[in-house]
């Protein structure tokens, strides 16, 4: 039903898009190469790795891009500390996409493969982008289809599948010569094995010395979500600089309702330095079936104790510094930048308890942690 609704929405939007007056030439993305190193540390999890992006035009009509991304994971997270053993693993992600300029429209198609020891995700996507009203409005429509294969390191026989469909509609609108607004909608439907193949929930058991035991989590096999976001960016003469803000609301059929808002400021200094400072706040309610501690074993049809579906907030502050340098060494390069980004995020949970901290079942302190996210990267345009 939800899929039909999203399909209708896309059909309506496509029909309207075809009939809108197109009067502005589209431009393919710039040729560029990016080399990024990322590092995440929080909740005794460390995730590091590189990401490489290469984008190149082929003739006047086609632009192709490839991205290789790695997560090297070392985890002793709160779940691991509560009932499992620390582990390390590696995730490789490879994406290929092509943009094709047809008249005033850019068609995009691509494929992404993400591979872990116990999880493989494949995504194929297709999108249409068109500038209308003399280039003041840009409309983006896209559809993606994903196929997940889930395994278990501890059980080679374990095999489950999940299927995803993603529907996106995006609009960017020039309001004045200094103001740009954006609107985005994304609907996602999932079907299949949607829970983690290792995660456990806990329930009260007076016969156990701790007063509780664990059993595997069990999620519904379908999930449908809708997210809407609205953003704006305003040019300020000094610098030059710009202020920007965006907000998003989210809801899904599991009962999770969320919102987040971001406010930022970008400042350019002598066309060489770019500083970007932003703050983001996120808040969500728990899934209907979530509980930190169930009253007994198999207490409900669906069971979940993943902190990502609990009630929580996070607040982050982020600083990006970019230095633009001319590239005289290689003639085929036009421009280069070196970039440093630091993001500090504080997570606070309202109904997810810190079991290793100790205490009577259900009376342990609420869980919280802080994370450091660092990115260092080089970008070249050629």
């Amino acid at each position: 039903m939800a899929r039909q609704r999203f399909s209708r929405l896309i059909a309506v939007a496509l029909a309207a898009l075809v009939l809108l007056p197109a009067a502005h030439a589209q431009v393919l993305p710039d040729d560029r190469f990016d080399l990024l190193y990322h590092s995440y540390e929080g909740d005794q999890i460390t995730i590091t790795g590189p990401s490489l992006l290469a984008r190149k035009k082929i003739g006047q009509k086609v632009s192709v891009s490839a991205n290789y991304y790695v997560d090297e994971i070392s985890s002793a997270s709160i779940d691991v500390r509560s009932y499992a053993s620390p582990y390390t693993e590696k995730r490789n992600e490879f994406s290929l996409s092509a943009d094709y300029l047809v008249g005033e429209t850019i068609l995009t198609a691509g494929y992404t493969n993400s591979d872990e020891q116990d999880f493989e995700a494949q995504t194929a996507f297709f999108g249409v982008a068109q500038e209308v009203f003399g280039g003041l409005t840009t409309v983006n429509l896209s559809y993606a289809r994903g196929w997940d294969e889930i395994g278990q390191v501890t059980d080679p026989e374990f095999f489950r599948e999940a299927d995803r469909r993603l529907y996106r509609l995006g609009l960017s609108q020039v309001i004045t010569k200094n103001l740009l607004l954006t609107f985005d909608f994304e609907g996602i439907t999932d079907e299949g094995f949607l829970n983690n193949s290792y995660r456990q929930v806990r329930f009260l058991d007076a016969n156990d010395a701790r007063g509780y035991r664990f059993q595997p989590e069990l999620y519904p096999e379908t999930r449908t979500s809708s997210a809407f976001s609205l953003g704006g960016r305003y040019f300020i003469g000094a610098g030059p600089s710009a202020i920007y803000a965006n907000a998003r609301t989210y809801s899904d059929t599991w009962g999770i309702a969320a919102w987040n808002a971001e406010l930022g400021y970008t400042y350019s200094l002598r066309s060489k330095w770019l500083f970007d400072l932003s703050a983001r706040h996120y808040s969500q309610t728990a899934a209907d079936f979530y509980s930190d501690l169930y009253p007994f074993e198999n207490a409900q049809n669906f069971l979940g104790r993943d902190k990502e579906i609990s009630t929580f907030t996070n607040t982050g502050i982020k600083l990006d510094i970019t230095y633009d340098f001319s590239v005289d060494i290689f003639r085929f390069l036009d421009r280069g930048t070196v970039n440093l980004s630091y993001n500090y995020i504080m997570f606070e949970y309202d109904d997810f308890r810190n079991i290793p901290a100790g205490g009577d079942p259900g009376e342990e302190p609420l869980f919280e942690f802080n994370a450091d996210v660092i990115q260092v990267y080089l970008s070249f345009w050629f």
């Binding site: 209708r8 059909a11 309506v12 029909a15 309207a16 075809v18 009939l19 809108l20 007056p21 990016d34 995440y40 995730i47 992006l53 991205n67 991304y69 997560d71 994406s95 992404t112 993400s114 872990e116 116990d118 995700a121 995504t123 009203f133 003399g134 003041l136 994903g146 997940d148 996106r168 960017s172 020039v174 010569k177 740009l180 985005d184 994304e186 996602i188 979500s225 997210a227 976001s229 960016r233 040019f235 030059p240 600089s241 998003r248 989210y250 899904d252 999770i256 969320a258 970008t266 400042y267 350019s268 996120y282 990502e308 996070n314 970039n339 993001n343 996210v373 990115q375 990267y377 970008s379």
Partner: protein, 75 residues
């Protein structure tokens, strides 16, 4: 479904007919500020994609943020 598409075509036609004479209210020569580096929406695509991944791996909400998809690397 057929009704919806018919309505869309009709609305699209009306929009098209009504807007075909609209002059862009921000002329091309007035867009220097909008083209400035500080106004770019996706200045660093690799970094933006990574930050979306950081958020979506740890939050229940998903979508409408330009995420690239794929697995979460958080089992």
């Amino acid at each position: 479904m057929r009704t919806l598409i018919l309505l869309a075509v009709l609305c699209g036609g009306l929009v098209s007919a009504g807007c075909s004479n609209i002059e862009p209210w921000v002329k091309p020569y007035e867009r220097a500020n909008l083209a400035s580096e500080v106004m770019k929406l996706d200045r660093n695509p690799v970094s933006g994609s990574y930050m979306n991944h950081v958020h979506e791996s740890r939050e229940g909400a998903r979508g409408a943020s330009g995420s690239s998809g794929g697995g979460c690397g958080c089992n």
